[in-house]
Symmetry: C2
Subunit: 132 residues, 2 copies
């Protein structure tokens, strides 16, 4: 897509700090890192998010996420994987991407901000509403 910053990174029109690349996937450092090693993994074909990505590219992206995670785990103490789909979920670049967030012991970060849970009484109703 002409106006997609990630497509411009894929084409080489915009530079990046590359971590990994294969025929279908590119991974590079986030230019706005929230932790050291903050990495984005994207398909080299334009998809908006998980809703429109095809299974072939999703498998390739997932395999790369695993490969990078295993590699990073030798250098850090853990990994969070985060992904946002649609504006309401705080997606800001509309080309499917997964954040790999390397963690270190006592890094003081909190990627699970919600300690209070909802009222549980309607789980049964919710499951009936959502069941596939």
């Amino acid at each position: 897509m002409d106006d997609c910053i990630f497509c411009k990174i894929i084409s080489g029109d915009v530079p990046c700090y590359k971590i990994y690349e294969d025929e279908y996937v590119l991974a590079f450092l986030d230019i706005n890192p929230v932790v050291n090693g903050h990495t984005l993994v994207i398909p080299k074909k334009h998809f908006v998010n998980i809703f429109d990505v095809d299974n072939f590219y999703l498998e390739k992206v997932t395999a790369a996420i695993k490969k990078i995670s295993v590699h990073y785990n030798q250098k850090f103490d853990g990994i969070n994987i985060l992904n946002a789909n649609d504006k309401s979920a705080q997606q800001s670049v509309f080309h499917l991407h997964f954040h790999i967030i390397p963690r270190t012991i006592d890094d003081g970060k909190d990627f699970w901000p919600y300690k209070e849970v909802l009222d549980k009484t309607d789980l049964k109703t919710m499951a009936e509403r959502l069941k596939l």
Copy 2:
């Protein structure tokens, strides 16, 4: 694993509010939901996290995540996918699981808690350190 709560859910020894099931994957409502529809997707074979899961099960889990996300997107306004690997990354149940967090417009939640970015000057060094 005998002492794994998710393995007990898979075996049926512990009940759950099931959302989706196939030969390899189970999805059910989180008993401690932070949003309505908060769902966990797990492989039916025990893996600790992304570091030890095999590609076969990871593909099956990912395909289920996509299927559920597309389904939920008809009922909510967006989806976050979150995953934690190892204690330092705030993993609390040591059976691989992905959180599906349905979002609604103006739900007031924030699953991207870090607005301040790190000093960017060492991205080149970091990329050299982490490159695969």
